[in-house]
Symmetry: D2
Subunit: 295 residues, 4 copies
Amino acid sequence: MKIENKFPGKDISAEDLKTKFPLVAKQNPNHKSCFDIAGVTFGGEQIPIFAGPNMVESRELIIDIAHNVKKAGGHFLRGGAFKPLTFPYRSDNYTETRERGIEWLIEARDKTGLPIITEVMEEKYIPLIAESADILQIGSRNMQNYPFLTACAKTGRPIMLKRHYGASLRDWLGAAEYILVEGNQKVILCERGVSTAHTHRSTSRFLLDLQAVPAAQEMTHLPIVVDPSHATFWRPWVTPMALAGIAAGADGMMLEVHPDPPNAAVDPLQAIDYAEFSKLIGKMNSIAKVLGRRI
Amino acid sequence: MKIENKFPGKDISAEDLKTKFPLVAKQNPNHKSCFDIAGVTFGGEQIPIFAGPNMVESRELIIDIAHNVKKAGGHFLRGGAFKPLTFPYRSDNYTETRERGIEWLIEARDKTGLPIITEVMEEKYIPLIAESADILQIGSRNMQNYPFLTACAKTGRPIMLKRHYGASLRDWLGAAEYILVEGNQKVILCERGVSTAHTHRSTSRFLLDLQAVPAAQEMTHLPIVVDPSHATFWRPWVTPMALAGIAAGADGMMLEVHPDPPNAAVDPLQAIDYAEFSKLIGKMNSIAKVLGRRI
Amino acid sequence: MKIENKFPGKDISAEDLKTKFPLVAKQNPNHKSCFDIAGVTFGGEQIPIFAGPNMVESRELIIDIAHNVKKAGGHFLRGGAFKPLTFPYRSDNYTETRERGIEWLIEARDKTGLPIITEVMEEKYIPLIAESADILQIGSRNMQNYPFLTACAKTGRPIMLKRHYGASLRDWLGAAEYILVEGNQKVILCERGVSTAHTHRSTSRFLLDLQAVPAAQEMTHLPIVVDPSHATFWRPWVTPMALAGIAAGADGMMLEVHPDPPNAAVDPLQAIDYAEFSKLIGKMNSIAKVLGRRI
Amino acid sequence: MKIENKFPGKDISAEDLKTKFPLVAKQNPNHKSCFDIAGVTFGGEQIPIFAGPNMVESRELIIDIAHNVKKAGGHFLRGGAFKPLTFPYRSDNYTETRERGIEWLIEARDKTGLPIITEVMEEKYIPLIAESADILQIGSRNMQNYPFLTACAKTGRPIMLKRHYGASLRDWLGAAEYILVEGNQKVILCERGVSTAHTHRSTSRFLLDLQAVPAAQEMTHLPIVVDPSHATFWRPWVTPMALAGIAAGADGMMLEVHPDPPNAAVDPLQAIDYAEFSKLIGKMNSIAKVLGRRI
């Protein structure tokens, strides 16, 4: 009985690293990208923190959150103005704020100095987001939308590429190669939970894959951010998994922060409030120091 | 200790059926969509067969395959002219034939009378594919590209929506609702394998989820097609899993067929040849009869 | 960057087939075990059907079921007298009937001529079950209890080895090798669902892995039985998945049958009644014929 | 269309906590077991470290390792004298040392004062291990061997219950309840990796499920240990995942330590050497302090 191994399967092969994602692949064990976005260094000693609400619900809200993220020591303000939904219908409190939301984000940046990251969901909004945001966030559901990746890459703006919850490391790094091949080198990877049999709560859908942090860092020089809010979908697990992400070696952390989480317009089960965020930053910083890094 | 169940998790709830995908949801146990595409009825007694190569490699090849698919009793010619790849680089034998490929598909249809289905990968090609193909195929990687789903839906052309290999039934039906809400009712779902721990061969990446056939049919009135070629990625398993798909109640079957599978430009491990296809059609028909259906 | 492949991982290698399970491995493509148990041939043209209740609830019940299984054309009566439970507490209607249950199974066999299969759960009951039952069933939870496998094997009695829902094909065949190495060659494998992210209903825990049928048949000469009742945990899916199992090439089928499924003591969501069982046997037989086999 | 939710599925329900594992379940948010084993406190401020080789290869080796584990600050010496294997055949360097191995462990304890933990694999060895070891380790493959759990529980000795790699949190806590119901309250849970589609290397089989740490701590008062060595099966990932485990709130850590990992008799890809272990302890301690704990 012959068991063929010639064709690549689930995992990354040495051949993949050389021919399929030569730009994404590490060239040597110490090869690690280090670049600056809006004055914040990625891939260096500092571990940037992205924080903000799931949705940019209102001008007041996002400005208030920006001040509190800044005060607590966060580096980027995150918030969705355009939101993909599993279903085409939106409840009243789930209305996208779209162009207005982007304006409010910009105003929040102006008021606080915090650079902003927001999701770009479709090609026609790429110019708007590219000129407004400091980082274009490509969501899980668009991770394998290759023409879209190329279009985003061509703006030359920094990009955060979230992993699809069903994507292998090979799929994810292959998608990143689509961006790098356009000459865009400021690419940040973001792990946000994968589909498995084991999510532990009936309200949760994902499992945070922290093993992906050292695994990705073994294969690629790109920085890896962790998003425990979307992964766990459960507030009490956000702090432990955020701390675990830092300890695992994450190069950044993305967190949902809201002044009144149970009344957040979207995903009220997962956001943390200002007080918890502030405490968490302190703890993340202490853990980062153990690894010779800092928040 | 309270365990909350208020927010929807991994599975479909009765609430989802009513408010999140009212158009996709079955209205009663006997509710099943039945519609005609290019003279072939979906959702009825007949089980349409889609067959052809992974890639439309050349004019001669696709015409030869079309004649053989027709002769064996297939109903639709499938073939990719535009192909998404996990990596941005293509080997020499993996060059897309693009617009020429579409022309060759049309010529093959003209010569054989077989209607054609082909993947549409990006928005700018929607008009070309919509006017050329009888069914627009939306690939797994675009399943959650909602603006793209909407744009395809608006052409009014029939659509096959492949399930992403990491998508739940809930994600998949939610994506279909995006198409139906545009007034496009000729939507075919296609199961093509999911990511799990258990693929049994190091060269395989997916597990064909046949439990999704009765599960989807319990929730929705839309026809469900099964694609065992991409799911198994392994020729010897294609025939048993195709037969199993028919027996599970599939409303259609999609198969990769090539005159010389080991030398196919793409995915040479999974295509079956004309002789095997012809025999398989006969067996599928016999099994279909057991269920009161036919190929 | 080096990616090592020297140590075996998730899947079966050619080396495994030669050195790790030489007795389980196929020696050539046509190598298939064929043996007789209680007058029923396994691995041949006929596809034996195992049917009966989850639990041997009472003498009357099991005798009634035996008559009906026999009448419908089943070959083995199944029923649990000893039952493993996820939790140590049993509700009133979940009481094991233990030694009495075994006596009732024997009486049912005497009255109908149907040979019996029942689960053996712990070492101290091996002698009792070995002298009473025609086949010892080893449940999923004991699949990797190697000393127990050895002890069961040493009885010389035929054994059905159910796959653990988290076990790979490699784990499963390795467990079977533990039985064969004791000189016991009448080993039947049984697939009964695996843990994945995709079970489609909140009440279900498993996905029936029919891809395991051709996969196992590619690696081993042992017969493969499919159990769609435990896998789907949902009555409406049992018939389609049983038919799919036969079409996929299963060498046997195990089904939960109960005169009044909604009032079954255990797992009332999954059993089918006599009428459905009888109809299902007819359809399975028709599908088997398509493959040159029969029930 | 009705979607039933009455029967429990994959996840833990409030009903389960009350009726299925009342002894394992937390009675209030601050309920946490705290007990002493061989002078080491579990569930308190200190986080005990278990370290040692996969196999007790020789007397010299285990004594040398014991001295080094002690020196570095470990609390328990671990080592397998009896080892379950996926296949029944053992290579020469994989011979179990069995009773002699237990004697050597005892000698290592005598020489260093380190209490010992070792796996008990079958019922007949329970008395031997119970009188020799300070903690009985029940391996993944025996997690659902309920009569064995009961027999181990009845010795009254402390027990570490490893999670099966396919088991849900519900399965795992249900198994623990089998031990507690016998009046044995010194039960430690150990997460050691689960089967998923995403292991990132072809040589790896599991994904360390750190989300299980806060999830288990939400449901149960029992201490949770993490084993990153077996989970990752890859040395370079052990340190990051061990640190992540501590940060996630683990109540203990189990590590494979060997003087010459590439030449370890078993699992040479995963053990760390003395120097790395010693450095790791230091870092784990610093992280523990951030959480108000210590090694």
